[in-house]
Symmetry: C2
Subunit: 436 residues, 2 copies
């Protein structure tokens, strides 16, 4: 129908490599992925040894050559940092090319300059990968929540600090020790400043606030406090009082309707959260963003906030958005393939007996010796592996036995149940539930 | 720039009323909301008394008249149920009009017929409100996650049953009693069949599976078990073994790469979940959908799964999507206003002293009588309201005092801290954190 969209990739670190892997293996993904054609990849060092999946004939060490290539429609920037990323992005825009970037630092600081250039040149700059890794949060803020008056965003948007805080809380350990171990395990950088001092979270908060409240956020004015000075005694006392401590990034609108301008209270700081709050349950390197608005109430987005795969997923989502816009625009009477109902697979539901899952089974039996042995034997003969089998307190001569199985084929489970039913010691199968 | 998009609304129940309220008060929402013009509203009974915000001159009791009106571009169906919804949707499509619907029953059963008609007539049928209420889940599955091979969806997608199960678990109460109370409180329908027998969840699972795996799902083949026969003893035993029980809707791809067709295992059933699993923490009428795929890993969407406001938010999101497509298509060199970086507000960051929040303060003081009184007095004089003030065990003559405040203006908090610092009994301010 239309020509493929031709991509120039700037940067081949973990995220860039993740993007290449997705684009080169379209099977099983949205059919639009196969409309993406990778033309050139700019790397720092041509000599470095790489994954054999990487098409080495596309590599160049001149990123400007990628941006300026007239055979490239869309520039994907995953170098990170301010320069040369900013210059390359602006150059691509000036040449009428749309840009996809996961670069929070450059968008938080030069977002306005870049957005104005994009508008003037009639191109898109999409940034799903810049905040929250793989979590779809930019697109929901731009599209799905547009009917709301947004009130507040509260997010755990830095995985490194959340990992450190989770371990400090669990182990009662102090900051320096956990940081050192996080660095050894690769969860923290050798220079951890941007993460532990809250600067990375403040970059992302600026971006989210601009999207949610529709205005320019002056990045340098965001009050920012990291976790470097947080003491384990505060975590301990907070715990005793019913709270967890998380590094939160918060943006809140203080405006009532009468104001012309939107008054925003922004801050990044270690914050107590009641233990039953949805954000309190976000542990390890995960991120979560809670959005409050009217009339929606509260909605939360949760997932892996960083990493090659998740961030590449977000970058590819943006690439597909731009590809779909192009198809809609070029084709006559052509629907946007991401919005229209599209089918690309023949789905067949397997029979209930072919489902593979864990099970919970409760039996009422006579309280006689050897019951558990008899039940266990039947499961064994049917190839159903048992995780636990527990006899609960029961009245008089009757026993209640609860079995939890490992994952298995339901047909084998059903056969086991039929045979167990026929045991003379078994009075009845009281319940049979699934187990995740 | 372009003409407004003209809406005909079918149905004015809670969701329909919610949609009208959003469309008629665009201030503070995405600027595209003001491009929506409400032309006609079909209701069942013209004589019923209504909210005075409803523009009564738009009402009609002839829905086909709305669908056929040549001045209407887009039909929004929020009547629910199979008929006349299906006929009206198909008629609108045949007239070349796009449709937005929140009707899970009709989409789960006639989704293919409707999608084929939409394709033939080159129009969109968008269904964000049909699953998960206000939670953006349809759009992420269609757009944001397109780069992934999706593996599994596990969701709590029926609020009524989740409310009943949460109460059964908390109170050790039995199903019939909790259902009766849920009906009194309006959390369950007088005929609760569709909810408690899992039929509503199976409708939604069919829709989600079709979107995630890109194929037709035969609704009648979804194995479905509700919670009507769930006994409180199972919840109790599950608890003792470290699990909660939720009504889960699960769709899992069993296919490996070599298969031409996608083998799916679907089921709706009460399911044990380990207590530290993200889905186990979803309580009350909330919904949550966990999506697993490669390379993203796991991502979860959480929020209000039903209700006038949330569902209206989803319906309006779809309206905006269609409006933006129209603008992009009509305008020359015009960017999609939902994808391009748009600003509609002047955002001003307030000074740190103007932020309004709760606080946590830890002080090291002399362990002398009256310390807490002196601290309390200073907070009182500065209008800072205290939630709790606790003296923790401490060594020798030194005491640690932790104060948690209610919400207040940070300037007053900062003044209090300055004054407290100057008290002779106070050795130092050991820490000052935020509190959500």
């Amino acid at each position: 129908m239309t020509s493929k969209i031709r991509i120039g990739l700037l940067g081949l670190g973990t995220v860039g490599t993740g993007v290449v892997k997705i684009v080169l293996s379209p099977e099983g993904r949205h059919p639009l992925v196969s409309e993406v054609s990778l033309k050139k990849i700019a790397v720092k060092d041509l000599k470095r040894s790489r994954d054999k999946e990487i098409p080495s004939h596309l590599l160049t060490d001149d990123p400007m050559n990628v941006v300026e290539d007239p055979d490239i429609d869309l520039v994907v920037e995953v170098i990170g940092g301010i320069e040369p990323a900013r210059t390359l992005i602006l150059k691509a825009i000036s040449l009428g090319k749309s840009v996809v970037t996961a670069n929070k630092a450059v968008i938080a600081r030069y977002g306005d300059e870049i957005a104005n250039a994009a508008k003037a040149n009639n191109v898109y700059v999409l940034i799903e990968g810049a905040v929250g890794g793989g979590i779809p949060i930019v697109e929901p803020l731009k599209q799905s929540l547009g009917g709301n008056k947004l009130k507040k965003i509260s997010g755990i948007i830095n995985g490194t600090t959340n990992y450190i805080l989770s371990r400090m809380s669990l182990e009662g350990a102090n900051f320096d020790d956990v940081l050192e171990e996080a660095q050894k395990l690769g969860f923290a950088e050798s220079d951890p400043t941007a993460d532990v001092d809250g600067l990375d979270a403040a970059d992302k908060l600026s971006i989210l606030s601009g999207l949610a409240f529709g205005g320019t956020i002056e990045r340098s004015l965001v009050p920012t406090k990291g976790i470097r000075n947080l003491q384990s005694s505060d975590i301990e006392y907070a715990n005793e009082l019913g709270y967890d401590i998380k590094l939160l990034a918060i943006a809140e609108s203080l405006s009532d309707k009468s104001n012309k301008e939107t008054q925003l209270a922004l801050r990044v700081e270690p914050t107590l959260i009641e233990k039953n709050h949805p954000l309190a349950k976000v542990s390890g390197v995960n991120n979560a963003i809670l959005v409050e608005g009217s009339p929606i109430g509260e909605v939360m987005f949760y997932g892996p906030g960083a990493g090659a795969g998740p961030t590449a997923s977000a970058v590819v989502a943006d690439i597909l958005n731009i590809a779909s816009e192009r198809i809609t625009r070029e084709g006559k009477n052509c629907l946007n393939p991401l919005l229209s109902a599209s089918q690309w697979s023949k789905c067949v539901l397997v029979k209930p007996s072919e489902i593979i899952q864990k099970n919970y089974l409760r039996l009422i039996t006579n309280d006689s010796p050897g019951v558990i042995g008899k039940i266990g034997k039947i499961f064994g003969e049917n190839n159903v592996s048992i995780k636990s089998i527990v006899q609960f307190d029961s009245s008089e001569s009757v026993a209640e036995i609860v079995v939890i199985t490992h994952k298995g084929i339901q047909g084998q489970m059903m056969r086991s149940i039929e045979e167990i039913k026929n045991l003379s010691v078994v009075i009845k199968i009281a319940s049979h539930l699934g187990c995740l």
